[in-house]
Symmetry: D2
Subunit: 386 residues, 4 copies
Amino acid sequence: MLLTDTLVDFFIATRKHSEELCQPLETEDYVVQPIVDVSPPKWHLGHTTWFFEEFILKPHAKDYTEFDEDFSFVFNSYYETVGKRVVRSDRGNLSRPSVKKVYEYRTYVTTAIIKMFQTEQQSDIYDLLEIGIHHEKQHQELLLTDIKFILGNNPLLPVYSDKLKEHPLEEHKSDWLTIEEGVYDIGHSTGSFCYDNELGRHKVYLQAYKISNKLVTNAEFLEFINSGGYERFDLWHAEGWDWVNQNQIKAPLYWHQVDNDWYFYSLAGLQEIQPNAPLTHISYYEAFAFAQWKGLRLPTEFEWEAAQGFFSWGARWEWTESAYLPYPNYQKADGALGEYNGKFMVSQKVLRGGSIATPENHTRPTYRNFFHPELRWQYTGLRLAK
Amino acid sequence: MLLTDTLVDFFIATRKHSEELCQPLETEDYVVQPIVDVSPPKWHLGHTTWFFEEFILKPHAKDYTEFDEDFSFVFNSYYETVGKRVVRSDRGNLSRPSVKKVYEYRTYVTTAIIKMFQTEQQSDIYDLLEIGIHHEKQHQELLLTDIKFILGNNPLLPVYSDKLKEHPLEEHKSDWLTIEEGVYDIGHSTGSFCYDNELGRHKVYLQAYKISNKLVTNAEFLEFINSGGYERFDLWHAEGWDWVNQNQIKAPLYWHQVDNDWYFYSLAGLQEIQPNAPLTHISYYEAFAFAQWKGLRLPTEFEWEAAQGFFSWGARWEWTESAYLPYPNYQKADGALGEYNGKFMVSQKVLRGGSIATPENHTRPTYRNFFHPELRWQYTGLRLAK
Amino acid sequence: MLLTDTLVDFFIATRKHSEELCQPLETEDYVVQPIVDVSPPKWHLGHTTWFFEEFILKPHAKDYTEFDEDFSFVFNSYYETVGKRVVRSDRGNLSRPSVKKVYEYRTYVTTAIIKMFQTEQQSDIYDLLEIGIHHEKQHQELLLTDIKFILGNNPLLPVYSDKLKEHPLEEHKSDWLTIEEGVYDIGHSTGSFCYDNELGRHKVYLQAYKISNKLVTNAEFLEFINSGGYERFDLWHAEGWDWVNQNQIKAPLYWHQVDNDWYFYSLAGLQEIQPNAPLTHISYYEAFAFAQWKGLRLPTEFEWEAAQGFFSWGARWEWTESAYLPYPNYQKADGALGEYNGKFMVSQKVLRGGSIATPENHTRPTYRNFFHPELRWQYTGLRLAK
Amino acid sequence: MLLTDTLVDFFIATRKHSEELCQPLETEDYVVQPIVDVSPPKWHLGHTTWFFEEFILKPHAKDYTEFDEDFSFVFNSYYETVGKRVVRSDRGNLSRPSVKKVYEYRTYVTTAIIKMFQTEQQSDIYDLLEIGIHHEKQHQELLLTDIKFILGNNPLLPVYSDKLKEHPLEEHKSDWLTIEEGVYDIGHSTGSFCYDNELGRHKVYLQAYKISNKLVTNAEFLEFINSGGYERFDLWHAEGWDWVNQNQIKAPLYWHQVDNDWYFYSLAGLQEIQPNAPLTHISYYEAFAFAQWKGLRLPTEFEWEAAQGFFSWGARWEWTESAYLPYPNYQKADGALGEYNGKFMVSQKVLRGGSIATPENHTRPTYRNFFHPELRWQYTGLRLAK
């Protein structure tokens, strides 16, 4: 547990970082929702603020006056416990509250939290503040990838920033790391922050396996495309094959073929494919089909965690073969915070790692990200195992 | 045909009026598209501009430089003749071009048109300019009703303006006008502007009928609601009854029941229902069911046109019983302008009249508006006949 | 009005004819519903029987015992007045009652009706019996076209009968009939049977027009196909063009291209296209696009009726340009029978004529058939006008 | 590996059993497909036959003449390797081939297989015959549950048989079995038949756990219903909660509330709920919500397999918490048979056990059944763990 001053500093820095991420945007970019999975940036700014207001200020702060009672309806995401809300697919239909009003809301709540924690002993709700900060950090990752989708989906392909190092190259030599058969400890063990889904450190028996020290690169995936990988049903899951055909998938998200050359949309605009950059923006189905094509497979999340000390990671979220399930002895938190993770533990795949969209200090070897297998707008890549 | 100066003045005034309609908006309001029928205001501003650029400046102006070649893709509505376009349901997914850029586009094109018509003899394309102006006027009506939907669909129910006289009362005494059996001339006959669908003045035989001198009011429709009109299948068309049930329709669009009182959203915000205001924002299905309930019927468009000299109109678009079909000897224009009206002549109903959203001088006794029977976001009302 | 004996004979003959139509079927053919518009043959056999039981026997016959109280739920079509029913799209999901049981139901009801009308004076319900007979005749037409769809949709393309003269040739010389401008009487006027939608004989003013003495043939439509008619958006209504593209329409229903030759499925199995047979199984959209391509148009239902004495008809149902709307002074019948026609008077097009599926004496010059514009499984063709 | 004679006897008995299962059906019952997951009985009879013809007779039998070349198109299920096929949702639209023809097809193929294996040494394809037999046994289970759905979905609720012991009571005393922490061997190890997904016997580390010796009963689930379990979002996965609301789920499949009493449809017709019968026809979502409500959980498939020697099973398929994933070193078979299991290893849950629909000798402790979490038409139940 952090001391008050440090935690308040951490809070302030986090709040500021969300706003910095939006700095390159036009007002209009804050509003739209091109697909249901992508939320408008102003919604992220408002929702992370509402979280502090709803779970800390309203129940715990003395004499706190709610900023606007309608905002709970607008900025609640899915917490059934705290009442009705705008359905997710309608977020992009709301022009109001305006961006300016959302920033006012942020300042109002940020100020109230600082005042509350600086003027009074609040040790019993430190963990609530901490989870609120981590909640906002999670949304920062979505914020950047949602912004990328909003801009990359626009026929004008606008530039977000040409300063971001979005595609760190993967230039070290490829090698197989060998991990021996045996019992491994999995799950979070230190005193530092983690989510409930990482807890319950427990033993897992792993058969001997090998795992690559390197992420799959664009150049390797181009070979898959050129060899007809998207047309060979035998490489795909049945539902992956339906997905390819129904959506006419022929390449990763953001890839564009112009004449015979491949380009991709990056936050710096349209660029030629970089062969040595790690492949990204693929679905689990594509990751699996690629591995099949290589005669290899994806690691499980346990294999990944047991081996993670031996390779560098953090450039991409890496699809694993594991389904997102509770660890033994998983305990859901009480009340609204209990809705955080447990209710999503079906029909999703685990990703491990982190990406350039992941805020500093927001990932760790035990962190479990999860998405439905068809989703591609995160920085999703893959590492092979055998 | 107007003389150049008058026509250019008319052009300037029309361009200005579109922008005045948007004056009360926040930037965010220009962007969203809550349902597929409602286009973002910035799209209307861009599309009406593109029409002048595509059909006048590009083919006819000397040395004209296109503002931005991607705009044709963004702002084309449905003209298959002039290439690919953003699909209609995606208009609200585009944050760019920004509102500021769209206004620059407007100024650029407005200036080029004025220069073109003021410096050269352009008599051969006067009619193109005239149709472009009327096209923009048509969009002004959509612009205001789309703005109303964008704001009225927002849970914050923001105010657009409290100066607009949106609900002129219908306070004269109700009476039946009797029209004699006989042959009537229908269609446009004067030299002034009209659309191709009004042309081909022709004879229609009408049986004797009576038509009300008054629009149906909110008070009358409340009686229908209170008597269970929305629950009586026998009053409805089969497809109207499906529509009521699938969409859980219980009142006109924008009506809200709070405790036991009825309110409606108006451009001035939420207000109590005004009993003497003409009913509006109903579908054809509702108009028909109401007439059935009264033991009466809607007039045909011919009955309306033959009688229109005897009652005041223009407060609402009025649903008629007529399907939208070509008049005898209807001729579609050549080229892209031929896509204007003819291709919609199936599965729609004719409305006659005009509304407070209709720009000045933009309606006339022969004007034929048309919508699918389930649509309600226009100022649609009804007048009874028997 | 027919005398009792004649009417009972007419009833017996009609009941028998329905069963004869099913004689070539396998038991399995009675059960399936490949698309929602096509009902299983056993449903038609049961529904027409239920009509007599529900509207005549149950309310009017002395001591009548219902055959099976669940059948009302199974065989009601859409009469909201008489209670709940199996939804239309579920008809093909019901294996029971078995075909054998449905035939028992038919015999039971047929016998009860005969007994009722032969043993007692029933003059006050003659008209109910008459409408029941005509109702069954209407279903006979659907029965045959539904059977054709069930078999023609099967990859094995089974033969129904090789004795039916399904494609009478249209071999007379093509000519234009000229009809003079003036007022014409439209609607049913004699004392013989007709539906409520034909009543209210009234005057219609027609401009001078010409109408073909001949139906459009397969050979003419092949020219349209070969000239790229299905790829030219300018020939189609906007919603017709969407229909073509969403459904990948490239030819009339039942047409198959094998190598470079065209075949069609007929009730006698797969056959080469007959050039001189009248075109059939087209949607209204296709009829309209074909007329556009010829620079001509479809007649209205009034033009058709005014001219019908001058050409032979009855080989095909002919699409008209008219929407299905009530005639002036149209009166809906009271009670459940009032649901017969009026509630469908929106979003449909009128067809005139008749077809080889139409039972003898079941069509007449004033008969108004109606379907949604995209439907093709009836014997729908077209006649041109100008 | 079985000796030829035994294997042929096994083949004959299996073929005969499929036909015995259909003995109580009317011809019409063989044809319908009320939901996409349920196939028509005649399709099962044809498809299992096609499997022998396609994979054994056509490639391996001397001088074999195909029964009907169109049947491959009709009866292929999903094997992309062997060509085009009727899409799954269209199976119920095919009235032909008739039931009689399908039985002829069965006899033809059964006879050809017997002759082939009795007259020649075929040891190299024994395993193909064995997998074909097990394939048919798998379909026997579907056949019975599909028949139940076809009849149970019919408003007449017909009886299939009153001789089947469909709901064996679970009358022993409830108790918790304690399993110690440690490494367990999981997967198939004997020489007898199993599917590829059971192979690769491997070690799994299990934390200490307790597992019930008893299936959850109807009486226990009634308590869940009565306590409002279907209305408490906090008990459900997010997607389970959506499923409950979108489908208005209020009870297990086949349960009917009449006045205040609960009944269920069984193969013997509508019956009162038996309190001591094991609960069945529930989705994974319902199994999970019930366990949440009890403060307990479902076992994983590994926990189930490690403990299965200590409790009786086979009355129901039991949902587990495990996702359906490949075991370590899972190897997909080559060719079309490789499509058997591997391509379904995403988005499904594992079930263990067996049910009254499972053919004799067709389940074993290592057998892994799998279904999507929302499916309920199998005999799916649950056993609790903690």
